[in-house]
């Protein structure tokens, strides 16, 4: 990771170097002292131990010096960190949603993207939002990370001065596909960014060749829990779902059979915990009432019909 991918790199790396430097010094001296003593004062060479008295001045010395050193470390840690919390006014604001198990970035003009595309040299503020469980947005190259906590509005910011692509990882355990909750930051020169920002079609995905219903499913990360090929992931597969007879447990814990019609699909998506498919768990799927419009719902259903 050469050069400065983000403005924080300098401060963070300095803190690392200072602390690791001091640590290495102590590690080496203490280890060397141990080895030396063990050899020099070996029982064969030195059968009679010296009688060494306690030494208060020494105790004070080796309390005071580490105290000063740790305060120094604290200081470097602190000054490397303060800029991370000082969000410049006028930063470009993007809403970053982390959900099981995908990232979604929503821009001020309503544009959505699975990658975080940002202009070079401009401060970017991320408003972190999670509808389900804890996640953590981590960009190693930028040295930043902040948890995405449901019900709490965490924010983070960064400024990248080097165009390129950098990994985004989820760093807070969030269930089955935690390790696959990946994305990328794409830092573009300003003009390119503006072009991208105003383009209606996301040039970073080949969305336009896929059926529109599938696009909706992908955008909302439904397919990280529901497979299209009949295999069981976290939720039941979408394959063959349409029109089939479902064994579900209703709210009173009773088993009932229902037919997978439009109504059923709608409740499954808007109120997933009302009727829980037998053999699956309540509470994993959250309500998508806010996320999916009636129009999109219709598109999903149209698409499900094709999955026989």
């Amino acid at each position: 990771m050469e050069a400065k991918a983000s403005t924080f790199v300098q401060g963070v790396d300095t803190a690392f170097i200072v602390i690791l430097g001091i640590s290495l010094f102590f590690l080496i001296t203490i280890t060397a002292a141990m080895i030396y003593f063990v050899i020099r004062y070996n029982r064969k060479k030195n059968p009679k131990p010296k009688d060494v008295k306690d030494n208060t001045r020494l105790e004070i010395l080796w309390t005071a010096i580490p105290t000063i050193l740790v305060l120094l470390m604290f200081w470097y840690g602190w000054i490397g960190y303060t800029p991370m919390r000082r969000i410049p006014a006028g930063a470009l604001t993007i809403k970053a949603t982390g959900r099981m198990w995908s990232w979604n970035f929503e821009y001020e003009n309503g544009k959505q993207s699975e990658y975080l595309v940002v202009p070079v040299g401009k401060p970017v503020k991320l408003e972190l939002y999670s509808p389900d469980v804890l996640h953590s947005l981590y960009i190693p190259a930028f040295r930043i990370k902040e948890d995405v906590v449901p019900g709490v509005n965490n924010v983070m910011w960064f400024q990248s001065d080097k165009p390129g692509e950098y990994d985004i990882l989820c760093a807070e355990y969030c269930g089955l596909r935690h390790a696959y909750m990946l994305s990328k930051v794409i830092v573009k020169p300003v003009e390119e960014y503006i072009q991208w920002y105003h383009a209606t079609v996301d040039s970073n995905s080949m969305a336009d060749v896929e059926p529109i219903g599938l696009q909706v499913l992908k955008k909302n990360a439904c397919i990280s829990c529901h497979s299209l090929d009949g295999s069981k992931i976290v939720g039941p597969s979408f394959k063959g779902l349409w029109g089939s007879e479902r064994d579900v447990i209703d709210e009173n814990g009773k088993r009932v059979k229902v037919n997978a019609d439009e109504n059923y699909i709608q409740t499954s998506i808007y109120e997933p915990n009302q009727q829980v498919v037998e053999g699956f768990n309540k509470g994993l799927m959250i309500s998508y009432k806010e996320a999916i419009t009636d129009e999109e719902l219709r598109q999903i259903i149209e698409y499900l019909k094709t999955l026989k």
Partner: protein, 532 residues
């Protein structure tokens, strides 16, 4: 000490009962210590196997061995077993039980029946935790049980959480027993500052056990109730606050890391003077630093939450306190090394493990400082750097101290000596393998590989491969060590009362000690390490 032929050793004295019954109904502290030792070893080996399986899976990117769901259960159970069944009870329950009354010149602990009860609770908790492994549906939350995932997941979190609750209870009772023992049962003439340092360490530990454990107890109980009744205590969709859960969890679990390490430090403080034939340097500094660690350790828990969205001022305060808690640990290390100066050092296996402890704990502690720095932690939080850190302190620290204690008191407990040459070799295998296993984790963590990852990006491959390779060496070393000890138990030469030349009271009685420890209670007239 005259004619004690008529006194049976505690290993033989069945108190009129037969076979296994004489063990599982015993109230003798040494027998209870051994009960803990045997059960703990079994659980520990299970944890090791889970660890090895994880390493195999992580050997290459992509799927090597198990499904993601299985992997998630693997690290959860590995963490739960290692933390709640191995390192937390580890040294206090095994060697504290065996050695504390001996060191103090007492006949037993203050409440022998309670002591047995704690062991039963331990076994109950352990069986509950492990039952999830056998009956499937093992929890997949990580040992931290973070809400709201732990409330939502369909796996058997409730059982695991209740198990941890019961194990906490067992830990509390042990701590309570030790505190009262230390206050009330010291031999005549044994003032506070004539106590061996291991007792000081156990005393400080016991206070943490008493005051921190109930907090996590109630927190885990709340998770269990939340799952069973479907109410909202921490689940944000029902008005709860997941960050509050983290506070409560770490209010216990940070002090808990000192429950793990302080007894280990106590063991090391026993050994260094004995094998260097020198009075320990800075007795009072070491004793007080245990109390200081225990006390300051209560107020640094927030360093696990630097990226959770905690308020800025709280992050700064917790970071500052985290650095301060490192100072008493440093004081101990300096005093240990100073004790070696001018001594007459005999590099027997216990000392070797003790020095190995110092080296590995140094790496673990110093990487802890990296974690404690705000800027650095934002980068490495929840990465393999942290995994490296805590294996260095827990396994390199507490684990090696456990081995040191095992090699130190083995002749006392069984009255026989293991083969020193082979034990030394086993140490070197274990030590080398350890560093090959865990050092790459620090590197790959700095590169940005998050923890609890079933699969990883290609750039993280090489360190992971090396690490997996190291895990095989460690396991070989472990097997080697166990074989040496078992051989010692079966065929070892008689060890005699005092094979290492220790001055503390445990070495003044028979090996193995008689049931009530001493024929006549000793009277103490000077400090524990007065080599002349």
């Amino acid at each position: 000490m005259g004619e004690n032929v008529q006194h049976l050793s505690f290993l033989q004295d069945n108190g009129g009962k037969k076979g296994i019954l004489a063990w599982i109904t015993t109230t003798d502290h040494k027998r209870i210590g051994l009960l803990y030792f045997y059960s703990l070893t079994v659980f520990f080996l299970m944890g090791v196997v889970l660890g090895i399986l994880m390493r195999l899976e992580l050997m290459n990117p992509g799927k090597d061995l198990v499904e993601p769901q299985t992997y998630n259960s693997l690290f959860t159970l590995h963490g739960v077993i290692m933390i709640f069944l191995f390192v937390i009870p580890g040294i206090p329950a095994v060697f504290g039980n065996i050695a504390l009354p001996l060191l103090l010149g007492a006949r037993d602990v203050a409440f022998p029946k309670l002591n047995l009860l704690s062991w039963y609770l331990y076994i109950l908790g352990a069986l509950m935790a492990l039952s999830t492994l056998l009956f499937g549906n093992a929890p997949d939350t990580g040992w931290t049980f973070y809400a709201p995932y732990s409330v939502r997941t369909g796996t058997n979190v409730t059982m695991a959480v209740l198990a941890a609750f019961i194990l906490g209870f067992s830990s509390i009772l042990t701590g309570l027993n030790f505190i009262v023992t230390i206050h009330r049962m010291r031999a005549p003439g044994m003032t506070w500052f004539r106590m061996p340092l291991f007792s000081w360490a156990l005393y400080a530990t016991a206070w943490i056990q008493l005051l921190a454990t109930p907090v996590v107890g109630i927190t885990l109980l709340m998770i269990a109730v939340e799952r069973m009744l479907g109410i909202g205590l921490f689940d944000p969709s029902l008005g709860g606050d997941p960050i509050l859960y983290q506070h409560l969890f770490w209010i216990y679990s940070h002090p808990a890391v000192y429950i793990m390490i302080l007894p280990g430090m106590g063991v090391i403080s026993e050994m260094i003077p004995v094998f260097a034939r020198r009075r320990i340097f800075g007795y009072k500094a070491i004793a007080y630093s245990s109390l200081a660690i225990a006390f300051i350790g209560y107020f640094v828990w927030g360093h696990h939450m630097f990226t959770s969205g905690m308020s800025g001022p709280a992050r700064v305060i917790f970071s500052l306190l985290t650095f301060l808690v490192a100072v008493p640990s440093a004081i101990k290390v300096f005093n240990w090394v100073a004790t070696l100066y001018g001594g007459s050092i005999d590099l027997k296996p216990p000392l070797l493990y003790a020095l190995g402890f110092i080296f590995l704990f140094l790496i673990g502690g110093l990487t802890g400082l990296v974690n404690g720095a705000l800027a650095a932690d934002v980068h490495i939080h929840d990465t393999y750097f942290v995994v490296g850190h805590f294996h260095y302190v827990m396994f390199g620290g507490t684990g090696f101290a456990f081995f040191a204690a095992l090699h130190y008191w083995f002749p006392k407990v069984y009255g026989k000596m293991y083969n020193v040459k082979h034990a030394t070799r086993a140490f070197w295998v274990l030590f080398t393998g350890f560093n090959i296993l865990y050092f790459p984790m620090l590197v790959v963590g700095m590169m940005g590989m998050p923890r609890r990852y079933y699969d990883y990006l290609p750039q993280f491959h090489i360190p992971n491969l090396i690490s997996t390779f190291g895990s095989w060496i460690v396991v070989s070393g472990l097997i080697y060590m166990i074989v040496v000890l078992i051989q010692g138990y079966r065929k070892g030469t008689p060890a005699g009362k005092n094979p290492w030349g220790g001055l503390t009271l445990d070495w003044q009685t028979d090996s193995p000690p008689i049931t009530e420890n001493f024929v006549e209670l000793p009277i103490v007239t000077e400090g524990p390490y007065e080599y002349k």
